[in-house]
Symmetry: D2
Subunit: 267 residues, 4 copies
């Protein structure tokens, strides 16, 4: 893959946002090169894919830190506030103190408007009826019109920008450069692709995952299997699985079975 084919090509997300890969350093090979430093002089030879899988499975995370990505992102502030909680990133954000912000506010599509979930206190339940969704969009729209006018009126009165912006809604878009290494990016993706993460941040995370898969296909495949779609089984649960598991009933690759049995402590 050529770098020019992938960088500086923004991919749209939500109604006004995007994810753009600005630059990156490293690849699957950088990961294995870094890992092999540890084994210098040791007679270990293994193929890259196998080594990456081994590192991922055993949580030897440092070689993944050697790959770095820089993105330019545009997203609503309520998404950006979740985004910046990941402290291992380096970022530069547009400042509402310096700049008049564009009055781009996020308006969810009708199919992304849901009732409050009843089972999950922090989540979305069923999609709203057409009628209810239309009403929601109309209330939001009315708020946005008032805020757009209010922000403009405040600026026209000569008010300093850093004060005027305080009336803008949490759905106003912001932009920033954001750099992260692959190990921390995988951790970010695990949290932000989780079904309980807010829909809007998941949409950004999916685009990020796409970029990462292009640049580090082996590491990404291994991440999806051993981490993103994995589960953690507690000590107590290991006991339950050991009791209930009939290994003779399953068809699986010998090597896969061997590793699983080792994990479960079954001989």
């Amino acid at each position: 893959m050529n770098k020019e084919d992938i960088v500086k090509k923004p991919v749209g997300v939500l109604d006004h946002g995007y994810v753009e890969l600005i630059d990156y350093m490293g690849s699957d090979t950088m990961i294995t090169d870094a890992a092999r430093v540890s084994y210098k002089n040791a007679k270990t030879k293994s193929q890259d894919g196998f080594l990456i899988d081994y590192l991922m499975r055993n949580e030897h995370t440092s070689p993944f830190e050697q790959v770095v990505f820089t993105f330019r992102l545009k997203m609503p502030i309520f998404v950006a506030r979740q985004w910046v909680r990941h402290r291992t990133a380096r970022m530069n954000e547009v400042s509402g103190r310096y700049s008049v912000l564009d009055a781009d506010f996020y308006m969810p599509d009708a199919e992304d408007i849901n009732y409050q979930s009843e089972s999950n206190k922090q989540g979305r339940g069923k999609v709203m009826s057409e009628e209810d969704a239309a009403k929601v969009r109309s209330v939001i729209s009315k708020c946005y019109d008032v805020l757009r006018d209010g922000y403009e009126e405040l600026l026209e009165s000569g008010l300093s920008k850093e004060i005027a912006r305080i009336v803008l809604p949490l759905s106003v878009y912001t932009e920033f450069y954001w750099q992260m290494d692959l190990h921390n990016l995988f951790h970010f993706l695990k949290l932000r692709l989780h079904p309980h993460a807010q829909l809007e941040i998941r949409k950004y995370a999916e685009v990020i995952l796409g970029f990462v898969r292009e640049i580090c296909p082996m590491a990404t495949e291994s991440f999806v299997n051993h981490n993103l779609k994995s589960i953690r089984i507690s000590q107590k649960e290991i006991g339950i699985v050991r009791d209930g598991m009939d290994f003779s009933a399953v068809k699986a690759d010998e090597r896969d079975l061997k590793i699983l049995k080792e994990k479960l402590g079954v001989s």
Copy 2:
């Protein structure tokens, strides 16, 4: 000082905010104990105040990391967004996905409402005329009324909380636990007490400084002198000062002069 006299006593900031010290670990003595680990067996004896001053002056920062503070803070989101850029903190924030947020929005007092600065692109200029400030407050107030009603209407329609909150303004208050060590807190204070920092965050930073001074008076005094109110003189500027400085014209403590001359490379 007794811990009970200072913890869990919130100090009000802005119209609905506060700073509350939840707990802390360490003191001036912890700093010097940690520093003296380095000199084990070395025949160095110096008083605590002198040692702290030496550490601060020479940017031996690690002993200051041994003191830790936990605050509970309530502040508008546009302030909180600056706050969380300090990545060395540990925080837990109220979630607008779980909770219906209080409709507390920050309304600046008339004396805190300024025209855009003409010299400083990111700052406040002169205080607004009474008339203009009143108009500003009325525009803001109108926005807030619409948003308060809008948020309520959205919740009543059964919309999930995580969507409803997106119409709330950047001035809505949030709350969080926030823990930081003293070295990083001093760095935070240097940036957030700077005259170019936004007025609202400076008000919080001043209250934090007050708490820190109570618990580590020696370190705080040294920080103010050697860091907060210090300046950095470039290599080029050192040359200018060396050329223009007449040491015979100044009255100062011998020891202070000696240290200054060493810094400037003047014998």
Copy 3:
């Protein structure tokens, strides 16, 4: 538990080392208080133990960061080099540039002397025969005698301490203050209590775990079950377990079964 009963009481490790708790901040209650900030106004009531278990199981790690420990440690440098790879700590170490180091070198007991493992390239295999172990100890002892004399001779020649120390062995003891929050400490313990971690560092980690259990018993119990002794099952392995698992064959608590089935995606 009274703080005085546990702080400043060094526990010996290896032949010349120790772990001493200097101070700490927080407890199980601090964790739940911090977690409950997120749910403000939400009608969630649950007991502390249940909440801690929920946080641990779902990897909601930030509340555990609110508890902080400061230790004073003495350990051989080859152990300390593994120790400092954990970058989230704050430390102050004795300096061999300032101080003449004590000529305390670690000598392993006969029962801790093993042949190279054949299956594990980085590990210890069988315990050495008495005869071989005695030979090893005698070779090591001879080296130490030469180095002890060498270091002393170099210092006596007037050589600067920072050069003289370069002949000291990796087994020389060093001392440092070390502070870490509970979330990162659990991660540290997971890696350093792992059977593949070097025996010597595991001995220190076990003492640390003991201190943590005294101060945060609920969090520690939950950590042991859901993290330390847990395993991670990949997407592929989930399929195997689903195929081979007979839930009707196991006896377990209803609630435990329900959670496990949810994890496995079994209805």
Copy 4:
């Protein structure tokens, strides 16, 4: 400059060490691009050199984090132990548990062998007499011979590598991948190029500085002037300089004088 001209060309340091640039991301332009994100829509136009100088002078550090370097380094362990104290790096080091280490031990050249400084407790004083230096080298050499033989003998006895290595001296060479962003690298360089830093680490830092200067010439020049060779003047010292300074006596660029006067608070 072409990347191929500078990467993977190791530069020797000390008797067996080197610094090799493996890869990097960014340049002076990346710094200004990242900085300009903040000023979006603001009518600020300035040349890159001026902007970089402004960022450096005002400690707007985040744009410098967008440039990243990966090095492969070989250095004695007593140097590496200082190196790894910089916690913002990502590293992968050769493991003495996996690998038989090369018996490369650092032997200082005669001109780098100094008496203990009398004024500076942690430093080198005068260079040793030829005779004394020769004696020092002979003592070190004798130690090394014994250790080399000892390590070999221990390995031959079948002892596990992780135990055998504990007799190796602090001067044994280690190798690692090491990645750091430019802001943190400048901080590293400031500390490790300081005249009080140990000679051996300064030699590595100088080579690093050379690489950085090739890739980011403007940022490096600005760093040297405003940071590396700058001094910090305390509040008290500002008073002294204000009292003693005769600005009419100095010849300097108008703009430079204006900035200096602003710093000093002189009108």
